[in-house]
Amino acid sequence: MTDLKFTRTHEWVKYTENKKAKVGLTDYAQQQLGDLVFINLPEEGDAVTAKETFCDVESVKAVSDVYSPLSGTISSVNEDLMDAPELINEKPYEAWIAEIEDITDTADFLTEEEYEAFIKTKA
């Protein structure tokens, strides 16, 4: 997991080839949300802005916004989540939400250790 970067709004970022990055929700986020029942995915080609909403997820408790960790363009979305949002609960670090390209800006990232320390202060 050391190749992941984290945000204070509980998203993870993993840089892939060709200067693209995959983003998803952290394990802590999925625990807090509870069982997900629906995800409102962004669309391919959408321009997204770092720290602004680009997706929302619905659990039995509530609908919550997901913030984009990056500014750029959505190059692909994980369509599997449409029918199975529970993948985020089961394997949060494999269930990526979207891949972003043409990255121009980022949120303030935390390392894994920093993020672990950050969520401890939340508890």
Binding site: D35, K61, A62
Partner: protein
């Protein structure tokens, strides 16, 4: 329990109709149904037993305590239903000539006058069918106001993070962009954040006061002044009016538009027993935009007039009229002095219950609350893995409806309780006793709470499966 479609027999009927006393009329072919209507084939005995069985399986305010926060589940006096059952109100048709139903127009006029006095508004419509419908209507008034002034840049609605979920949803339905205003650590609107958000694009602010934390925002005059200075309007969500009725008026706080929930504050049936009613009141300068017709009174006569500037109608005719009859009956029963007793007792009951629980539970925002308060079970969840949901389910086994859960969203593992003014000290004392017992059980035998409820028609429901694989229609091929 069987569904009504699974009882009865083909061809069985319920009513014995009298012989037709007028000539039979056959509809033209293109107006006739092509497909047979799927109706249950049951006798009156079966209908009666079916609904009695259903009523035995639900919990209403007539069964026991119902502290569902922000829903004001007060007892609805029977006299309201007696008034609503009078033939003069039930044997009418909205299309009959106006002068033959003047008594009904008088009900609307009188209810409008009393509710305007309570809220500090100048005009009101009874068309909206419920609270969120009222929000939608109120925001359409706001939109009409800005449009009339050719002020088309105003595309944003400010909503505090403690707001009811319907507020941002209604604003989105009208096409507005929602800007979230955070709360301070004391649970009130963050004034600095509000000032920063008050751009020329702001159409208005939606606020519930007291808010969903049960706190009255002491900066309310400052808040509404700031919004007005920025060119926006102030919308009051009346969901929590029960806390201030007879003592403070949204109109005096600087609000321009309000919606009321007659089914909350004004003791008309609520939830499955509805229908609801969400009248929208406004200040004079917005009254021309109201939907539907306005009831006018002249020399003791009542009649309706349309408005050229009206946003159009949002529901057929006069909304859920009999609900208005009930609310008016309630108001006339309690009288002017009684209105302040509602809020006084509601606030006293909430504070009494909160204080009694405070030595065991974590109160999210300690201090004096209004009509409701919020507990956080975050510590119980962490230490004993018993959640607010487990608590809510376990409370059902003690003959009470669970409180509102996981709301407001700024409190983790929230339980939101609103006892209302119609509960006695004994009822509240018993609820406190039960909740403390459950707290002890959470420490000693957490599995007991996780397995609850034990006494209900169904055990713990699989909420996740219900949301992921909902079955929303009845499959008639099963019959």
């Amino acid at each position: 329990m069987k569904l009504i479609f699974e009882t009865g027999q083909e061809g069985r009927r319920c009513t014995i109709l009298p012989n037709l006393s007028v000539p039979e009329y056959i509809l033209e072919n293109d107006l006739q149904r092509k497909q047979e209507l799927m109706l249950p084939c049951v006798s009156e005995t079966e209908v009666s037993r079916h609904y009695t069985a259903l009523s035995n399986r639900v919990h209403g305010v007539n069964n026991g305590f119902y502290p569902l926060g922000s829903c004001t589940m007060k007892y609805n006096p029977r006299i309201n239903d007696e008034a609503a059952g009078l033939p003069g109100f039930t044997n009418i048709h909205p299309m009959q000539p106006e002068h033959t139903a003047e008594g009904c127009l008088e009900v609307l006029k009188e209810a409008e006058e009393l509710l305007c006095e309570i809220t500090g508004m100048n005009a009101m419509t009874f068309q909206p069918a419920a609270g969120a419908h009222g929000e939608f209507t109120g925001l359409l008034l706001m939109h009409a106001y800005h449009t009339k002034r050719n002020d088309s840049k105003r595309t944003r609605i400010l909503v505090p993070d403690s707001a009811h979920g319907t507020n941002p949803a209604s604003a989105a339905m009208v096409g507005y962009t929602i800007v979230n205003i955070p709360s301070t650590e004391h649970g009130l609107v963050d004034l600095e954040a509000l000032k920063a958000a008050l751009t020329p694009e702001v159409a208005g602010l939606m606020l519930t006061n007291p808010n969903t934390l049960g706190l009255f925002d002491k900066n309310i005059l400052e808040i509404t002044r700031l919004v007005h200075e920025a060119g926006g309007l102030n919308y009051y969500d009346g969901a929590n009016l029960n806390a201030i009725i007879g003592r403070a008026r949204p109109g005096d706080m600087g609000f321009d538009i309000v919606h009321l929930n007659l089914h909350k504050t004004f003791s008309t049936p609520h939830g499955g027993g509805g229908p609801g009613s969400g009248p929208v009141g406004c200040k004079e300068f917005l009254s021309g935009y109201l939907p539907g017709h306005r009831v006018k009174r002249e020399n003791g006569n009542h009649f309706q007039l349309p408005s050229d500037e009206s946003i159009g109608r949002v529901k057929m005719f006069e909304g859920n009229f009999l609900v208005v009859v009930r609310a008016l009956t309630y108001l006339l029963t309690i009288g002017k002095e009684g209105a302040a007793d509602i809020s006084g007792t509601a606030v006293l009951n909430a504070n009494y219950m909160m204080k009694k629980l405070a030595d065991t539970f974590t109160v999210a925002y300690p201090g004096i609350c209004m009509h409701e308060f919020v507990l956080s079970l975050e510590n119980v969840k962490e230490e004993h893995h018993v959640s607010a949901l487990d608590f809510a389910k376990a409370m059902q086994d003690y003959g009470m409806h669970p409180p509102t859960m996981y709301f407001p969203m700024i409190v983790h593992e929230a339980l939101m309780l609103e006892p209302t003014e119609t509960e006695s000290k004994e009822t509240i004392d018993y609820a406190v006793l039960v909740m403390k017992e459950l707290y002890t059980a959470a420490e000693k035998d957490p599995q007991k709470l996780k397995d609850a409820p034990f006494s209900q028609p169904v055990r713990r429901l699989d909420e996740v499966a219900a949301a992921r694989k909902p079955v929303l229609t009845y499959d008639f091929t099963q019959v």
